[in-house]
Symmetry: C2
Subunit: 490 residues, 2 copies
Amino acid sequence: MAKKLTKRSEDYSKWYNELVINADLAENSGVRGCMVIKPYGFSIWEKMQAELDRMFKETGHQNAYFPLFIPKSYFSKEASHVDGFAKECAVVTHYRLKDDGEGGVVVDPDAKLEEELIVRPTSETIIWDTYRKWIQSYRDLPLLINQWANVVRWEMRTRLFLRTAEFLWQEGHTAHATKQEAIEETEQMVNIYAEFAENFMAMPVIKGFKTESERFAGALETYCIEALMQDGKALQAGTSHFLGQNFAKAFDVKFTDKDGKQDYVWASSWGVSTRLMGALIMTHSDDNGLVLPPRLAPDQVVIVPIYRSEEQFNLVSNVAKEVMSELRLKGIRVKFDDRDTHKPGWKFNEYELKGVPVRIAIGPRDVENGTLEIARRDTLTKELVSRENVAKIVEGLMEEIQDNLYTKAANYRTENTTEVSSYEEFKKILETKGGFILAHWDGSKETEELIKNETKATIRCILINAKEEEGTCMVTGKPSKMKVLFAKAY
Amino acid sequence: MAKKLTKRSEDYSKWYNELVINADLAENSGVRGCMVIKPYGFSIWEKMQAELDRMFKETGHQNAYFPLFIPKSYFSKEASHVDGFAKECAVVTHYRLKDDGEGGVVVDPDAKLEEELIVRPTSETIIWDTYRKWIQSYRDLPLLINQWANVVRWEMRTRLFLRTAEFLWQEGHTAHATKQEAIEETEQMVNIYAEFAENFMAMPVIKGFKTESERFAGALETYCIEALMQDGKALQAGTSHFLGQNFAKAFDVKFTDKDGKQDYVWASSWGVSTRLMGALIMTHSDDNGLVLPPRLAPDQVVIVPIYRSEEQFNLVSNVAKEVMSELRLKGIRVKFDDRDTHKPGWKFNEYELKGVPVRIAIGPRDVENGTLEIARRDTLTKELVSRENVAKIVEGLMEEIQDNLYTKAANYRTENTTEVSSYEEFKKILETKGGFILAHWDGSKETEELIKNETKATIRCILINAKEEEGTCMVTGKPSKMKVLFAKAY
């Protein structure tokens, strides 16, 4: 446990993997590409879920649950969707095993399904097949539904949280009477994602549209939030899709408006996943381990007693318990680690590794002097404070640490966003500094493809509020109206 | 929507299906045996989840997440487990589809998995395969973990909520240093389930042990809670298993105790599922629709305005909003249905069908007279009350309705529990009255099997606190020390 992590500067990828495992967030399982989310990691995910769920419900959404399996034929109904999704996926072909006569089991060849079932990679098709039954009239609209679920995409190269065969997510699927309303919903949801990322994850994000080639399979427009990780690579943290009438047409979902006229329904879908855990880790953490923003920390404060005798332990414990009560009264999540199986030094390392925002140490001398030692995880600084002010100080620290993490990440992003005017410069920045690069692009698929093939950088998004600025494409010299955002990405 | 349900007395099973669909709880999907849980049904399940999750956490459990897929070979590791579970299940054999050249997709024969993956029917095997890595020392124990997940069991005959191929549940999996501790955990959890059933679902339950033949595959003892439905059939509502060292041995999970001695770990597992939704429905509902206990009702109160003109609407709305605020201040979940798309009569039927515990109607005359009409869903009675007392009255009703539903169900169960002394009497009661039957049994598998084959009744449980009573088995005449609980069951 107390083992040192590889330094980020040495091997960022190794550092990430070690951190995820050693901080008890997740680990690989015996099933290729599928992770186990460990209790500590899951408790952070639960905090994320709770906040997002609250935000969804406050904007009128309801949760529901749709089947894990999707009949193979459903995928073929929306032409571009089948290309995007019905390929690398888990296919259920049989529904029974039988004894092999040697204590094991084999697939029963007599139990073959007539039509194979796909483990959902996303649920548009099964949900729109259901909406056909739910929507008849304008009175049934808007239909604002979300589901928390597991999905499976058979990825060849997997990384804990960032890219796993099975992952957890939420997927919203809404139906509207008008195009305008569906677009507003799509925008509202990308705004909610941005608000969540910034206010809870302390992670600054850029809102934009995806280019046509990066769009969701079946969408007319994909909105996204993009964040910059500490290694200069971008991470797509959430997407919201305007689906037009594509799925309504594919699944024949029509409604009658107030005047008795029939039309296809307009749609949006949007999702974030356990990938956010990866984003959270790579935005704030350091060589000592995880750094958590207080709003998502399962334990915001940990109290570690310092003692040599039982008498000292009792003395120190009394103060610790008082402090714990005071902090809890202020709504702060605090844990008192009074285990006698581990030494204080071990505990200090452990909570540093696990990213607990504030650590309080209390020893016999502190009890005598009416003091406590407060250590901040974000700055790794310690301070001796007066016992009587501790609740107020810690309460202030919760806000201060949350803000500091955001500011640090925002400054990093500013320092690592470069505007370039030539392709040479573009390539040089990519190789040396990395980060976000703003550059003119002629709007063509071909140029986008060429840049991707030559540099591995992709267009992360076309900024929603990009300033118009006449220029020429850095590759082809063709006219361009605004710079777009490039980066190498996870 | 306003369509009448089939009466329970006419066709109980048809009544149940119509209620589930018309009250917007769930419906069948395009995938055989898999249901869609609709938003209203899901919001009740969310209330159940929230309470159970709180109870689990208060007793020291943490949530985590384990893979959906389990390698086929894992099932063969625990001999009795493989017989019980690795048979009727969804088997993933391939990980890719490809174009069929006609706009559709087919399974890619080149993408066959080396080892088939089973969609989890329960997670003991994959979890104990993980625990081997997590448990080394007594310091790592107890390990108290729960997961909320979907599971799949390929049932041939399915019914919404009661028996579906995919269902949602929670599964707790705990590891302990001693046998005694594991047994205490198993008992604690069946007690928590009983407490939840009685205090939140207002559903009286009997706690007991399963007979050997009804035990969970791999358990040494299965504790259960059994409830009695309105049609005289029993429903197993939750189980908690003492697994001994079976899974620890199968997956080689050992720990070192304080004295440095190695031993296998002791285990429990326990679960409840969306089946509880079926139990809730069949315990309280009537021919008008769902009846919900206030503690699990998404809306505890609905206010319906009665008006003919916009002026009247405004008048009535003002009072409705005041009442709504007063009730919310008391922590009551209240909805004001001010839609002008539906008439009051339609709304009355709708909320009756959906089981909202209290309905308040306000018309212009009420505003004049300072009155309101309160209707109770459980008794279908109406009362005119004074405007100024409404908050207090409704607050009282929340407790009163919750208690009344429990009492009604408990009385029904008392009336429908019969002690018999002969097999003749047993068969007669089963055919005429149904319900729970207490009878002497000789403790043998053969007799249990014979009774089941002849009557379709099964031993629901051996009561935890059964009074010792010398007697003779109703079938074989062999000696018996106590009566056990029989019933036909869901």
